[in-house]
């Protein structure tokens, strides 16, 4: 369609930013190889080093090289420390560890704000040790970029040598092949693992310090989804094993990005092209990755989620049902008491709970890790933005759900043949693509047809929609909308409970746990997987429409892809696969930070540290906690009942024994009572 121009300086710029992606990708691969952990904190470790470097040179007037060594050691230490904290999780379901690293990266972000790390002047650029620059074409390459060109390849070569010829490298490679046999043949896997995280921390420091001179402030969040997507793509091209390929692929991604910048005018088209290239590359590499990945790979990327926990005990189930109704009743009364702002918050929590439920189906039950759930929410919101006033609300919600379900099924198609990590990357790509291309482009022309379609936000910077009315009742006030959101949440819970108990969940879990067995048993595997995407998409879709009506004014920034990470955190904090857990997770992550107000540090510590603490000390999540307290309550109630019965029976001992058998025996007496 058009010739691609590739001037030298564009290529060189691509190489320079690509070196950064490459180093990041190498760090990801190192840690993945060693522990099978996808480390979302990989970028953030380095930011500490970059910020600390500024602090040392600008505030303390340290010599550059000395400061450099100090700050890189700091990052290496932070890397090692992270490993020590996360170590006990390494045998747990992969998605749990992944979420723990999301929490870790938030904690690290909070660390950079500590007084002895954060420089006085935040906008002081990261220093460069020499003043060397050159011009190529019409572009001046700054000293910072020259530094990258020298240092990044040297670091990569040094690492390659270390992996090939040191004992750490040998141990690390042995461990990545088979940790158990490595251990049995005398490899001290714990030390190897700590060392790997130390090396990865130092690598991350190099990435951040080299990238930083180009930015106005070093204090940036490196968990930027774009950067993560690029690094992950490069790592996947290296099959999560091959360091050299990952590094080179990182450079390739950088060059590709710069070429697109240079050749394609609109951001939307750049994103579209990037997304397509990403999908194509992954599809091409999928075969290689399946071949390279060791037999245990698939099983280690698995779940220990308990979906259905049936009770044999009638009292126990009565308690949970009445607890649910009490909670619903309390929630229904709450909007009467709350003020306007809190009512708004109330509806937000309800809607986020619905979104978390949608991910419970997809990730908790069907075992597909989606990092782009908020992209689906955006689809639902788009439908609301376009049809807001013209269609009756129930129809609109159904339509938003149906459209999103369709999109979710399309997004899920590649996942049918890909191992778990791939879906994570493609969905992340989808969420970014939704935000930066679809939402940001109000209208576009279909190539070849000369027809204009308006699929984006009518006004990407600020779209305003009014709240509709439901059967003639206005939902304009925050209070009535709070009730509406609660009703939607209750309906959703009702539907998900039916799916859990009446045959949908068991099919999803069967396909997740044993795909071959399920196929041989006659369960249509592909259709079941797509059903998970469809159901999840449907819920995310109408939740998205509700979210649009709740916020009323929104922009592309409202649909930040990082919110997907928060949603997956909700599901994990609540307890993977648990319905009550998803709601509690939404309450914790969406409700608590808002209550604690504006202080970002407190927010980061509640969600970041809280996240890690939950995963470390409460494996089953909030849902488990709820379950256990209901158990305790059941025992308590039973003791009281038995006492009362004994007192009523009073006199003859033979009669008393007849009336009140002890708790556990009684539980086995009523196995079928629950079923009806």
């Amino acid at each position: 369609m058009f010739a691609i121009a590739a001037p030298n300086f564009v290529l060189l710029q691509g190489v320079i930013i690509g070196l950064g992606y490459g180093l990041l990708a190498v760090g990801l691969v190192l840690i993945y190889r060693t522990n099978r952990v996808l480390n979302f904190a990989q970028g953030q470790v380095g930011v500490i080093a970059a910020v600390f470097l500024v602090k040392l040179t600008a505030d303390f007037k340290f010599e550059y090289w000395f400061a450099l060594v100090l700050s890189i050691s700091l990052a290496a230490g932070v890397g090692a420390l992270s490993e020590l904290v996360l170590r006990r999780l390494f045998n747990r379901p992969r998605v749990l560890v992944m979420v723990a690293t999301i929490g870790l990266s938030q904690v690290l972000l909070a660390l950079t704000a500590l007084p002895f790390i954060r420089p006085h002047n935040l906008y002081k650029p990261v220093p460069v040790p020499f003043d060397l620059s050159f011009t190529l074409g019409s572009v001046i390459f700054t000293p910072g970029e020259v530094l990258t060109l020298i240092v990044a390849p040297s670091v990569a070569i040094a690492l390659a040598v270390a992996v090939r010829s040191t004992s750490w490298g040998l141990n690390m490679r042995a461990m990545s092949e088979n940790a158990d046999s490595a251990r049995l043949s005398g490899v001290w896997i714990r030390r190897t693992s700590t060392l790997t995280w130390t090396v990865a921390g130092a690598l991350s420091a190099f990435t951040a310090i080299l990238n930083a001179p180009g930015q106005t402030s070093a204090l940036t969040e490196v968990l930027s989804p774009d950067l993560l997507l690029f690094a992950l793509t490069a790592a996947l091209v290296g099959a999560m094993i091959n360091l050299t390929v990952a590094f080179v692929a990182g450079i390739g991604v950088g060059v590709l990005y710069e070429l697109l910048q240079w050749n394609v005018s609109s951001t939307a088209n750049q994103q579209l092209a990037l997304f397509i290239v990403l999908l194509v590359v992954l599809v091409i590499r999928v075969r290689a990755i399946r071949k390279d990945s060791r037999s245990g790979e698939r099983s280690t990327w698995q779940y220990g989620a308990t979906t259905v926990r049936a009770t044999v005990d009638s009292l126990r189930s009565r308690i949970s049902v009445s607890g649910m109704w009490l909670a619903a009743l309390g929630a229904a009364i709450l909007p009467l008491i709350l003020n306007v702002g809190n009512n708004y918050l109330f509806s937000q929590v309800c809607i986020y709970a619905v979104i978390a439920l949608s991910l419970t189906i997809l990730t908790g039950w069907a075992g597909q890790v989606s990092l782009g759930q908020f992209g689906l929410v955006a689809v639902g919101a788009l439908v609301a933005a376009h049809l807001g006033g013209s269609v009756p609300l129930p129809l609109l919600l159904l339509f938003a759900g149906a459209v999103t379900a369709l999109v979710a099924i399309i997004v899920g198609l590649p996942a049918l043949r890909m191992p778990g990590l791939f879906l994570a990357v493609t969905t992340l790509g989808f969420a970014i693509f939704m935000q930066e291309a679809v939402l940001a482009t109000p209208c576009w022309t279909v190539p070849g047809l000369h027809k204009t379609l308006c699929t984006g936000l009518p006004n990407p910077a600020s779209t305003l929609i009014g709240r509709p009315s439901l059967f003639g009742l206005g939902l304009h006030s925050d209070r009535s909308f709070a009730w509406f959101s609660l009703a939607i949440l209750l309906l959703s819970i009702f539907a998900v409970r039916i799916w859990r108990d009446k045959g949908v969940a068991r099919r999803l879990v069967a396909v997740r746990d044993n795909e071959l067995g399920a196929a041989a048993m006659g369960i249509p595997v592909l259709r079941t997987k797509l059903m998970a995407f469809g159901l999840s998409g449907f819920m995310a879709g109408y939740a998205g429409a509700c979210l649009a009506f709740s916020t009323q004014r929104f922009s592309t920034a409202t649909f930040d892809p990082t919110i997907s990470f928060i949603i997956i955190s909700m599901v994990v904090i609540g307890g993977l696969g648990s319905i009550a857990g998803a709601v509690l997770g939404a309450l914790y992550l969406e409700g608590l930070p808002a209550l604690f107000g504006a202080n970002p540090t407190i927010q980061f510590l509640t969600s970041g540290l809280g996240l890690i603490a939950f995963i470390l000390y409460l494996p089953g999540g909030l849902g488990e906690l709820l379950h256990r307290s209901a158990d305790a309550l059941t025992i308590g109630v039973r003791v009281v009942q038995d006492r009362l019965a004994a007192r009523r029976a009073g006199g003859p001992p033979g009669l008393g024994a007849d009336v009140a058998p002890a708790g556990p025996e009684r539980a086995t007496l009523v196995p079928k009572a629950v079923e009806s």
């Binding site: 779940y303 220990g304 989620a305 308990t306 979906t307 259905v308 049936a310 009770t311 044999v312 539907a495 039916i498 799916w499 009446k502 045959g503 949908v504 068991r506 099919r507 879990v509 069967a510 997740r512 746990d513 044993n514 071959l516 067995g517 399920a518 196929a519 041989a520 048993m521 006659g522 369960i523 249509p524 595997v525 059903m531 159901l535 196995p671 079923e675």
Partner: protein
């Protein structure tokens, strides 16, 4: 019941010139045999002789490079694994993994799901037929749970069960699936000797109750000779002997291929062929478990 209108009763399995290669190795090479309706066909051979791969091709998990698999004369080449299940081919796996996170009840309900799938929409809206279907499924499953004595394990996750109990759950799900051709892959693997002996009457009863043709892959040679109506011996992907147990037992090629040229192996149940002379004189297995 399966909705495809296939006739009930045991089916005839015909395998003709079946072959497949894995990376240049001929895992199965020109294998042919027939299992008559209602027969129990034993497939024996050393490790790596292609028994499980043959089962994989019959159940559709592996696509053969050559040859055909026929069920009552219908060529199955175009049938996906789940479609083969619909026409009555049921398979149990060697590892008997089942579904670690599902309860016994759910595993058995799944078998019923396959027979009568209810659309998600009607489930969600709790339409009358969806309710009725679920109720019917639960009734059928309750019956089987009672028959197999699984009441105690109804709500246990399969991951929590012992291998023996998982086998029983597996057999229960086979009954529910109402097979016309049942493929059993080492049903006694990972089970103690004593329990394995108890398996013979259990499998006999299964054969009667389910009224099905069975293809049995098994290392326990005495069990195979005791149970099967015909035996196929495989070596390095080829069939070296086949026929009724008495014939195969006397066939020198079969002896050389698997039976280790030792008569004792024929009479000693268990993975090790080197048992004591005293045991070898024992009559084969008949009344042990009953």
């Amino acid at each position: 019941m399966s909705g495809s209108g296939s006739p009930a009763g045991p089916a005839r399995l015909t395998v003709e010139n079946l072959g497949v290669t894995f990376g240049g190795v001929r895992a199965v090479d020109d294998v042919s045999f027939t299992a008559e309706p209602g027969a129990i066909l034993g497939l024996i051979g050393a490790n790596g002789s292609g028994k499980t791969t043959t089962l994989d091709m019959v159940s559709g998990l592996v696509t053969p490079r050559q040859g055909t698999v026929r069920l009552d004369g219908t060529d199955l080449a175009e049938y996906l694994p789940e479609e083969r299940q619909r026409i009555g081919i049921v398979r149990s796996f060697q590892d008997c993994r089942l579904y670690p996170e599902l309860s016994v009840l759910d595993v058995l309900l799944l078998c019923e799901d396959v027979k009568a799938e209810v659309a998600v929409l009607s489930t969600t809206l709790r339409l009358p037929w969806a309710r009725r279907a679920e109720k019917r499924k639960r009734a059928a499953v309750d019956e089987v749970i009672g028959a197999f004595g699984l009441d105690r394990f109804r709500y246990h996750r399969t991951a929590e069960l012992s291998t023996g109990t998982r086998r029983v759950v597996d057999l229960a799900s086979i009954i529910l699936a109402a097979p016309r051709l049942l493929l059993l892959d080492e049903p006694t693997a990972g089970i103690a000797q004593r329990e394995a002996e108890a398996f013979i009457p259990l499998l006999r009863r299964l054969h009667q109750v389910a009224d099905t043709t069975i293809v049995l892959v098994e290392h326990d040679v005495p069990l195979v000779f005791e149970l099967c109506t015909s035996v196929v011996v495989m070596e390095l992907g080829r069939v070296v002997a086949e026929g009724p147990p008495e014939v195969v037992r006397a066939d020198p090629r079969a002896l050389a291929a698997y039976l280790g040229a030792s008569d004792e192996a024929l009479f000693a149940s268990g993975p090790t062929g080197s048992s004591s002379a005293g045991r070898s004189e024992r009559p084969p297995m008949s009344a042990q478990g009953e």
